[in-house]
Chain length 382, copies 2
């Protein structure tokens, strides 16, 4: 996975910017000022001719590439995909990534101070939608002086944002790269999200979301993350990685401690996550995913009708063993785009890595991502 | 699903019997006396010529058919499959079903009084295996005067018991019906079980398993059940049943209450389960499933070697959309049985119902179950 033979963007700066103007959210509330954490890599040409907006997934942040502090420390979450000579080639493109609204990595979210009370918003933070996240990104770009994009790209929750961009601001981004994503979640995925939220909401330390500076709902959040992790991996990947291996001496303990390697792994993932993620943001991110429905929001329930508005070229990528955002959902999107004569390219990548493939199988898709961006740039005469 | 045109066994009696002799369990502990809750339907011939032992799944009980108290009340969990003219035809066969060791429906389990302390066992109850459950069933049959069986049958955890019967007591049951089951769980299924247990163990009311007569770990158990329920249904079934339907007025609440129909359903399943199931038994049942590994226990890791011991005719049934006990696992079992020239019949049933198909799609498999039993009886000259 590490791309030792290719350079990194190196040490990068975490930036932020405050949008003073309040924004009208989908829920009807107005919110502002809004601080947005972002990073950029590469050099901008024009007012966006070579600009690519990267949208992160549930647990991501604005730190998509390079290192914080010093080389080798805290690599960006998509370090394999962004850099000189990589899929998102920083020798050619100006890359922007920002933390989503409602997140917990620098952008205004539930842990931010509510100007009305002087205390953290907590659960009073408005329930944000994918549309709201995109609206904030649009305002950030305006503040940075960009009035168009070569591309908007993202995987999972990030892919929902890329698709929403193509629907909400047609023409702004010349292309949208929708990776391991969907125009709407299935009942099964909504169900997994609901159980995760339930686990957080019923944690004894959740305290109605007002836990800042006190004990946090660590157990509930860890369990939500464990459920998530199972859905990010495939059955095959878990079999290959853990099988039925036991951690200790290879004998059953006849107790209820962690015993199989897969249990230790999940426990570790849960504990790590709790250190870096806010439970209230987890509630918000999963709810935004549940609510996202491109057909409902833009086509009165018809995906084909919704997609009439799309002006961007669209690249759709799915991964064969992804059962959280299964390929059939990408195919529905592609089919609906074709039915309204849109410019769409679709690739289903064979992979055992499940939903996580969009983070792990960058090498397999680097060439097509690179060519798609180059072709878009050529077409736009950039 | 309901078999209006076929009769039921009618009102049935819950029975129980106490095995005074202590049993040596797989964990090394000895346990006794053991009370076993059981029911029987139909009339016995000989010392087991027409006797069929039914093994229940995680949340089942000895009450497999008929009604308790009065007609129409509390149907057995496999009412569709057991009765006059049904798959397990009570005009022909003598059916026995008992609650498993460690359960919470009448058989000795964690809520039973520990003779050593005079208080409920709680978490001090030994961690039981599928082998232990089968050992208790064997002792029950002996106490009832049976020294052989025409068949042993079960779905899911019950199918593990049926397979264990064929391995532990070869020759006792003339046939084994292994339905929607597996010779060993995958890492993915172990992971789901582990998260469910985690949720129970970290419930503030779990109190080290010593919650009898106090507030019970209802939230933890409900969340475990919700996770379970998602895995019992298929993506297709959930889509068909719920899709993205909202419960209320069809508008988003922008809050964290139950909102999608699938959330209401899961919440209901969680609450119902908590009323009838003991969290300590849930821990035990899932652990027994995790530990079950026919290859490891009987063949030093080789399934084919393990199955050399089998003397029973085996029927293996899997369901196409079952992703918890996926068809490929049944096929591994069939393949290994064939490799050692055993008498095996395999059917993969096309169904959208997921793992729950073994409870819901009885009509689709009634004919083959009936014919397999009849053929076994004919072969045995019964």
């Amino acid at each position: 996975m590490t791309q030792d033979n290719r350079a990194s963007v190196g040490v990068v700066q975490a930036r932020s910017l405050t949008l003073e103007q309040a924004l009208e959210l989908d829920c009807g509330e107005s919110l502002g000022p809004i601080t947005v954490a972002y990073e950029t890599y590469g050099r901008l040409r024009g007012r966006g001719d070579n600009a690519v907006l990267i949208c992160h997934a549930l647990s991501g942040s604005a730190h998509a590439a390079g290192f914080h502090g010093e080389l080798g420390h805290s690599p960006g979450w998509w370090e394999d995909a962004i850099g000189p000579g990589k899929a998102f080639d920083t020798d050619k493109y100006f890359i922007i990534c920002s933390n989503v609204l409602g997140g917990c990595s620098g952008t205004t979210g539930p842990a931010s101070l509510n100007p009305a009370t002087g205390k953290p918003f907590g659960i009073a933070f408005p329930v944000v939608t994918i549309g709201d996240m995109v609206q904030v990104q649009r305002a950030l770009l305006a503040a940075l002086g960009l009035d168009h994009l070569l591309a908007v790209a993202g995987g999972s929750l990030g892919g929902m944002q890329a698709l929403e961009w193509a629907l909400r601001y047609p023409g702004f981004a010349k292309s949208a790269l929708v990776i391991a994503s969907t125009p709407r979640l299935s009942a099964q995925s909504i169900a997994f999200n609901a159980v995760g939220r339930n686990s957080i909401l019923s944690d004894e330390h959740f305290a109605g979301g007002d836990y800042y500076g006190k004990e946090i709902p660590a157990t509930g959040l860890a369990i939500a993350r464990m459920i998530g992790h199972i859905t990010y991996l495939s059955d095959e990947a878990m079999h290959a990685k853990f099988g039925r291996a036991l951690k200790g001496r290879g004998e059953f303990s006849y107790g209820f401690g962690q015993e199989f390697s897969v249990e230790t792994y999940l426990d570790h993932q849960g504990s790590k996550f709790v250190e870096r993620f806010d439970a209230n943001s987890y509630l918000l991110m999963t709810k935004a995913m549940d609510y996202f429905d491109a057909a409902q929001s833009w086509g009165s329930g018809s995906l084909a009708q919704a997609l009439q508005r799309v002006a961007a070229r669209v690249l759709v990528l799915s991964f064969s063993s992804d059962w959280l955002f299964p390929p059939y959902q990408s195919l529905e999107l592609v089919d609906a785009l074709l039915s309204c004569h849109k410019d769409v390219t679709y690739l289903q990548v064979e992979s055992q890595a499940g939903h996580d493939a969009f983070l792990l199988e960058v090498d397999a898709v680097a060439a097509i991502l690179g060519r798609f961006l180059a072709a878009t740039a050529r077409k736009e005469g950039a």
